[in-house]
């Protein structure tokens, strides 16, 4: 089900992006739709609360970890200085919380900052965050609030792969038919792919700083993306070094095909067969929240927000490709008319 939701987003974005084609101008409403979808994905990325269950605090106390966490619970009963709570899923098992001047009423779904006192076996109420929230994402241990960046980081990386793939397909088409339009699409797509690779690297670095302690750790995933950036930098260096348009197109088409052969290896294979910090590395027991086949690795809300994010970024890729292809064609036409 999870993969289906994600694939629907990818397909919807691709169909929306491909229908106007690379040759004709996008209508203004189509551009507005792209940004509305991206805006919605940003809303679903940043606005929902991320809250753990109170059982997680009890679990942490077994390891003598005392932590204040945002907890999502249901108010079952209210007494003068105590409220009885349960989790929102399992309403039969209840726990007391000592609380003063409560604004809570029976039946409220609450997100509050709580800690757990192992000695007294009681929860300590610190701060009320929200009452009856409309959107709540589950807390994923070790990721916490950082999980939000998943909606930016992963689509950027996958769209970089898509862009390099399209660059390779149009390079093959160019070598078959020697049509400069195909060279235009191939080089434009490689440029956008390069841009998305940089975005994926930056968002990954921000994530790494919080989770691994440093912006750059030379983890196999980081090293492989760095090598990939160098490979495509060489592609642009090659194009700028060759003055003859026909030669430039032919050489860069061959290079683009060869460069793409390395992409699946650097993105999907190398980081999974080597030991590293990134989810899915050889010593990691899980495959990471996206690839993992466990349904519980991402909640439904997270799956939907991830899918919408995927759709938005895919549409954005096709929009940028359309603008860049038309811009490059215009540049060439103006150059030809001047010579």
């Amino acid at each position: 089900m999870k993969f289906l939701i994600i694939i629907i987003g990818l397909l919807a974005g691709t169909i929306f992006g491909i229908l106007p084609g690379f040759r004709k101008q996008w209508k203004s409403w189509q551009i507005v739709v792209v940004f509305l979808v991206l805006g919605l994905s940003f809303y679903l990325t940043f606005i929902p609360h991320i809250a753990a269950t109170h059982q997680y605090l009890i679990y942490l106390s077994d390891f003598n970890i005392k932590k204040e966490l945002k907890i999502h619970f249901l108010v079952q009963e209210i007494h003068s200085d105590t409220i009885i709570i349960s989790s929102t899923e399992n309403k039969t098992k209840t726990f007391p919380i000592t609380i003063k001047n409560s604004q809570l009423t029976k039946g409220d779904e609450v997100i509050a900052l709580l800690s757990y006192n192992k000695k007294d076996k009681s929860f300590v109420f610190k701060q009320l965050i929200d009452k009856n929230p409309s959107l709540v994402l589950p807390y994923i241990p070790a990721l916490g609030e950082n999980i939000r960046i998943l909606n930016l980081h992963v689509p950027c990386a996958w769209i970089a792969v898509l862009a390099y793939l399209i660059s390779m397909i149009y390079s093959i088409k160019f070598l078959k038919r020697q049509n400069s339009f195909f060279d235009n699409v191939a080089s434009s797509s490689a440029l956008i792919g390069f841009f998305f690779t940089i975005l994926a690297t930056i968002t990954g670095m921000i994530w790494a700083k919080d989770n691994w302690g440093e912006y750059w750790n030379w983890d196999p995933r980081e090293t492989s993306i760095f090598v990939l950036l160098l490979i495509y930098m060489a592609y642009f260096a090659l194009r700028s070094a060759l003055g003859n348009n026909k030669l430039k197109a032919r050489f860069s088409a061959v290079y683009s095909i060869l460069a793409f052969i390395t992409v699946p290896f650097f993105i999907f294979v190398l980081p999974r067969i080597t030991i590293g910090l990134h989810p899915g590395s050889a010593d990691d027991t899980s495959l990471g929240p996206i690839i993992s086949s466990e349904a519980t690795s991402l909640s439904y809300l997270k799956q939907i927000s991830f899918s919408i994010s995927f759709m938005g970024w895919t549409m954005m890729y096709y929009l940028l490709l359309n603008i860049l292809v038309r811009f490059n064609y215009l540049k060439k036409e103006i150059f030809h008319s001047n010579h």
Binding site: Q25, S28, I31, F42, F46, N179, S180, L319, I323
Partner: protein, 46 residues
């Protein structure tokens, strides 16, 4: 920076990019009309 601030900052940047791309798209179509080009064409004889 809390989540709401991050959201408002990112949505403002997004709106700025949207306006920029709408402007570029509009300018490009103006230039295409000026040069009497309907769409990007094949160029197999090059």
């Amino acid at each position: 920076m809390d989540n709401f601030t991050t959201f408002y900052v990112s949505i403002t940047i997004l709106a700025g990019i949207a306006l920029l791309l709408l402007y570029i798209n509009h300018k490009l179509s103006g230039l295409y009309k000026l040069l009497k080009i309907n769409s990007v064409k094949d160029d197999e004889d090059e």
